[in-house]
Symmetry: C2
Subunit: 443 residues, 2 copies
């Protein structure tokens, strides 16, 4: 060991006991887990909804009650889409109602719905080849998420084009509506929603997701009767943009208060379930990072700031607004950390940085981060919200195990009870150790 | 890269596509998961029970139907303890029934139960200090598992002495019965059983585990009224040893059939829940290792053998019998792998070997094992059953994430639905890749 390395290793040693305390305190007290329970009791938090405002006010009061400094609500206008109260998809003969959810952003159908024959395709290539058959039909994109992928985010990425662009692609050839197989790892009948986007130069048609097992059913009925008709009824609507807010609080740095370490995640969720894993958990973990530092009476050198970004799911307006604000006020973000991959057992952090020096420095902290189960730090994508903060010197994405995430994602399955207290709290501890090391050691 | 290393790396490269196929096939087909469902439908499999024999016959027929070679039942006599149908623990005033399970191996109480005052202690040290207060009392060991530990097996190890030796320790000072707080990571009221042992030189007294939240309740009632009385009624009994069997099947090696790679786990479970994680899963994963190799039409050079050991929970008789058999028949066990830590997302393998050369060799396979999420191979304890096979050159324990395991362990929570298909199947794939590499490359 060279003298320099030895010095460094001695200087890092002091963090071992702090890291150990963070892990033990988080696991024993489960305070963040109880905050998450409170949040989930409010219900889902779709941007622009009344519920989202109740949750925003809850978060504002909670940060103040935990003694955070400079707690404020940053105003931002957000899209306001509502699911409405009519939502049905019925095979007309033999009559059978399918389990569905309108996709986020979809237009409504006429009041009596749209009845049409169905063209089932696996992907956009097949759609292209069969474009002459599309006109007047409801297109059914039935390609499942590829379960053979070990990483469920990769698998999700391989299937999500149908949901996001399916309506426009099909409308281009005259389709009257689109239904898709829910993008999920779970073989049940709970439909999964998510954002869809229209292309302004193409007619808008309604779009919905069908539960996995009902998608199988529809496929098998279509093999028996290719001319079967579906009736799709939706009365969702897009209202004018609504007033909303990011929620921000911090612990002021004792030595370099102008250098900021940000921890955060998006606070909005889809409008089914509790938005527990996606992404109540990421927000509450971020909030508990600061709370944990306070409970342990630590005085970080740099400012540690918690940001709940609104509207990641269907607009990213909160993150854009925050990024404009830090740019215009020339705030120095040394490092920004996002948690938006669910609250499962920690594995690692993805770092967005070109600097090998910074990556090596982070990796030299692994013996400390290991106490919270962090196995690795690798180059990779950080998070949708913090990627907007262009002036940040380092963007980090917290990475937990992902095997169960897509079972819950964007569905009524994503409830508080789906979050495990130890897995959640280890995530908090991982992020707290990382944030504290960044605050004390810099990059 | 030296020429040797380059050669080696090229020679290992051929395993990448096999490993990838194993992962994809396991995740896509979920066959082992369906075998586990069948097994769990039989119910729990306590050694000596009728159910255990139904399950043993199911396993024998299943291995044959999957085309395994040399499928046989290895006879072994096992302890035969029965819980009986009376099991209650009641605070007499104000009357309240507590949720309990007799500990495995406990004697019965008299028909009307045992009514006595309660002495609550945290550990054997406190018991020793208060030994003069013990006589005529029911001792309540109330120390919880330490949630602050990141490894739940370590936490379990720190609490289990109360369950295993509590009765003897307390009886030594004249206690009339023992109750313990359930050893669990879950704050619910489902009691967790497990083995307890008597010391032949000390009187035998009955012992039971109380649900976690009822343990809290009993503690708080004792603070209000230190003289409160409990009535404990159990009618469990130990019958004469029963005939049972290990279940064994294999794929004969194509080049070195006399060199054996063993994969296995214990087949018995406690008598509540389905014994899904503990250890139906470990057995079925082992069985699917061979099945997966057959489904992929691989012809392993060495023999790959699957063993379901009976009676790990309360005697280890199956493992002892198997070890005697391989010793007396001079069978060459190159490597033995056990799965008995639940069916969660894979992390690594613990290797029991003094040889740094063997450890390095195993670690050189990590780029292949990574495809099934294996992050590391470290020195550590392998498994209770395979540790009995003294002539094995290498003992390996499969290590999945452990955060949720103790929620289920030895309780009615340990049912099929608690096992996640992807987590289960990735475990199968991890073990299959390891077994196949050992078969083809040796150690």
């Amino acid at each position: 060991m060279s003298e320099n390395l030895e010095e460094k290793s001695v200087s890092l040693e002091k963090y071992n006991s702090i890291a150990q305390q963070m892990v033990e305190t988080a696991l024993n007290e489960r305070k963040g887990y109880e905050y998450l329970r409170e949040l989930c009791e409010i219900g889902p938090r779709l941007s622009g909804s009344e519920n989202s405002m109740i949750a925003i006010n809850w978060a504002f009061e909670k940060m103040k009650s935990l003694g955070f400094e400079n707690v404020w609500l940053q105003p931002v206008m957000v899209p306001h889409w509502e699911r409405g109260d009519v939502q049905s998809c019925t095979i007309l003969k033999p009559k059978k109602k399918l389990s569905i959810l309108a996709l986020g952003g979809s237009i409504a159908t006429p009041k009596d719905g749209i009845s049409a024959e169905v063209l089932e395709v696996q992907n956009f290539n097949e759609l292209e080849k069969r474009k002459n058959e599309v006109s007047g039909k409801i297109v059914f994109f039935s390609r499942p998420l590829d379960q053979g992928q070990i990483n469920t985010f990769t698998a999700y990425g391989g299937a999500v084009d149908q949901r996001v662009d399916g309506a426009s692609k099909a409308a281009k050839y005259g389709a009257v509506a689109v239904v898709i197989r829910s993008i999920t790892t779970k073989y049940d009948n709970v439909p999964h929603t998510g954002v869809m986007l229209y292309n302004d130069s193409i007619p808008k048609i309604p779009a919905a997701a069908i539960g996995y097992t009902d998608s199988d059913y529809l496929s098998s009925e279509l093999r028996k009767n290719p001319h079967l008709k579906l009736n799709l009824k939706l009365n969702c609507k897009t209202l004018p943009d609504a007033q909303s807010f990011n929620v921000i609080g911090e612990i002021k740095g004792s030595e370099s208060p102008n250098e900021i370490i940000l921890v955060g995640g998006h606070f909005d969720s889809w409008d089914v379930g509790d938005g527990a894993h996606d992404n109540g958990a990421g927000c509450i973990q971020s909030m508990e990072v600061l709370d944990l530092i306070k409970r342990l009476n630590l005085k970080p050198k740099r400012t540690i700031r918690c940001v709940f970004f609104i509207n990641e799911e269907n607009g990213t307006r909160g993150a854009i607004e925050y990024a404009i604000y830090v740019d215009s006020t020339k705030q120095d973000h040394l490092a920004v950390i996002e948690s938006d991959r669910g609250a499962f057992t920690p594995i690692g952090f993805y770092a967005e940085t070109d600097s090998t020096e910074i990556l090596n420095r982070l990796q030299s902290w692994l013996p400390i981060l290991e106490k919270a189960n962090i196995e690795w730090i690798r180059r990779g994508g950080s998070g949708t919200d913090i990627q907007k903060i262009k002036n940040a010197k380092l963007q980090l994405g917290y990475v937990p195990d992902d095997q169960r995430y897509m079972d819950f994602h964007h569905s009524a399955n994503d409830v508080f009870e789906a979050v495990h207290p130890r897995e959640f709290e280890l995530g908090t501890a991982s992020m707290a150790i990382m944030a504290y090391l960044l605050s004390e050691e810099g990059i």
